[in-house]
């Protein structure tokens, strides 16, 4: 009958010192499809797998450009990410208007962290059910930050969150030493490869289900989707040709 008395709200500790609502929110992140981020000395890259609810539907947005110098990738509840990204856009704009400078990534990260943490401390509120990777370039160079529903944020060299992201992280850990000196193209290839690691056996990275966000020193944050990433996919997975181009996906056309 009484499975758990301590998970009704986010302000009650369990006798073991845990806050279950926060832990459940962190589970929501693990339900979302995988996103990875990597930084080098010059660039920051976000890569994500998009999911579609059904064959004929569109794909859920995974990478959101916030300001010209950075963007976020999300795993978890997209609606919560929308709230947070709107807030980040407001804060970024206000930094530009008041101080005439792009906001620091460490600044914006701690601002959403404060917001998220407040949600875990007030009765009647709930934690955000979304994890974010915040990547871009500011006055202090390229950065990648991880944000969790608990309000924990960390600066990372490389990071993956979302469903089956352990496989992606394993790839990132194996190649950790290479990232710092990587070129833009190498960094993109690493991101795509790590993304592929966490894909189910029968799944493939395609122009439809992959999102890339790239920014660098002197290069604004840009979102690559659809045909724009075809070349990145080709150069990353050169051996793809061996398999017959995944049949049945394309529309049937009369070839008269």
């Amino acid at each position: 009958m009484f499975r758990n008395n301590y998970d009704n709200d986010s302000v009650t500790f369990s006798p073991q010192g845990r806050i279950f609502q926060v832990e459940y929110a962190q589970e929501a992140v693990k339900q979302g499809s995988v996103v990875v981020g990597i930084v080098s000395k010059t660039h920051a890259v976000l890569a994500a797998i998009k999911r579609n609810a059904e064959e004929l539907s569109s794909y859920q947005k995974k990478v959101i450009p916030i300001d010209t110098h950075y963007g976020v990738a999300l795993a978890g509840l997209a609606s919560d990410a929308r709230v947070l990204s709107n807030f980040m856009r407001q804060q970024s704009l206000s930094s530009r208007l008041t101080y005439d400078r792009p906001i620091l990534l460490s600044d914006i990260t701690s601002r959403i962290a404060d917001r998220a943490q407040t949600n875990t401390q007030q009765y009647g509120r709930r934690p955000y059910g979304v994890g974010l990777l915040i990547a871009g370039v500011d006055a202090r160079g390229p950065h990648l930050f991880e944000f969790q529903p608990s309000g924990v944020t960390q600066e990372m060299v490389a990071c993956g969150i979302g469903a089956r992201s352990q496989m992606a992280r394993t790839y990132l850990e194996r190649n950790l030493d290479e990232f710092e000196g990587s070129s833009r193209e190498e960094l993109i290839r690493h991101a795509l490869r790590s993304l592929k690691e966490s894909l189910a056996q029968d799944k493939e990275l395609t122009v439809d289900n992959t999102s890339l966000g790239i920014s660098g020193i002197g290069e604004d944050f840009k979102l690559y989707e659809g045909q724009d990433i075809a070349e990145f996919l080709e150069t990353t997975f050169e051996n793809k040709e061996q398999e017959p181009a995944a049949g049945g996906e394309g529309m049937e056309v009369d070839d008269s």
Binding site: T98, Y99, D100, R101, A139, R140
Partner: protein
């Protein structure tokens, strides 16, 4: 018991009688003729601020006088305020508003540096350009509230890429920038002299620190000759890549009042 929240915490009408609002202006239910007003003119004022850009930085100066009308009331008022090691603000106009802005800028500096985990070598994140943008927004906000901060200011220092930066902001929220700038009387008396040294940006990139300091000192002297609200003790700051060098007790050197005898047309002379 008065159940209306508006009555809570006020003297009770049945004990003290109804509140007498007659001292209030008409706009607030009283009988006074004049409405509530904000600052209509400055009270204790500082005069000109001068600044000039040179190849590695900026030189800025203002005298140490705060006048009460035409009375030289305070002779030790430092009107150059260092914000961080990249920016100095020089204030002309109302001294109390300067003190308010100084406190505002100090709290801004604390906020900027609080909890910072930035590496020491990355330097302050707030450049003179950022500070000027912020200040001009504060000034424009206050004038839009019809409650202006009665100042004209120069922000001198380095921008985010450590190039010399100099810009003006005033009580109207007006801003502009130039290789040399002056507020108040200095805009009439000193600016033409400074423009001889730096007619354009290219010239300011050629100017040496010694030439810039010399030019500013010369202008401070001319201002003391001709501006009746000035004094011969002044502050001068040089901001460059090495930081801020602020001196607050400089005295004018080599004054020569010989020209004064030639002046005709006003004063006590009868010829």
């Amino acid at each position: 018991m008065n159940h209306f929240p508006v009555g809570w915490g006020r003297p009770r009408d049945d004990v003290y009688g109804a509140y007498n609002p007659s001292y209030l202006p008409q706009s607030h239910g009283g009988t006074q003729a004049n409405p509530i007003t904000h600052t209509q003119s400055p009270i204790v004022t500082g005069t000109s601020v001068l600044a000039i850009k040179y190849k590695d930085g900026v030189v800025i100066a203002a005298d140490n006088l705060a006048s009460y009308g035409s009375l030289a009331r305070f002779t030790d008022v430092k009107r150059l305020k260092q914000f961080n090691r990249k920016a100095v603000v020089g204030f002309g106009g109302d001294v109390s508003d300067m003190q308010y802005l100084d406190r505002l800028l100090n709290s801004l500096d604390v906020e900027e540096n609080y909890g910072g985990d930035a590496p020491a070598e990355s330097g302050p994140h707030m450049s003179a350009k950022n500070l000027h943008a912020y200040l001009s927004k504060v000034m424009y906000k206050r004038r839009s509230d019809f409650n202006p901060l009665w100042n004209a200011m120069l922000v001198a220092g380095l921008d985010e890429s450590d190039k010399p930066f100099l810009a003006y902001a005033d009580l109207l929220g007006t801003t502009y920038s130039s290789p040399s700038l002056a507020t108040g009387f200095g805009a009439h008396l000193a600016q033409p002299i400074m423009r001889r040294a730096v007619p354009n940006e290219a010239a300011s990139r050629e100017l040496s620190k010694e030439q810039a300091v010399e030019c500013i000192k010369e202008c401070m002297k001319v201002l003391f000759y001709r501006d009746a609200r000035s004094m011969p003790v002044y502050s001068i700051a040089v901001i460059d890549g090495k930081g801020v060098d602020l001196k607050e007790d400089e005295k004018l050197e080599n004054q020569s009042w010989a020209f004064a005898e030639q002046i005709r047309g006003y004063g006590t002379q009868t010829v």
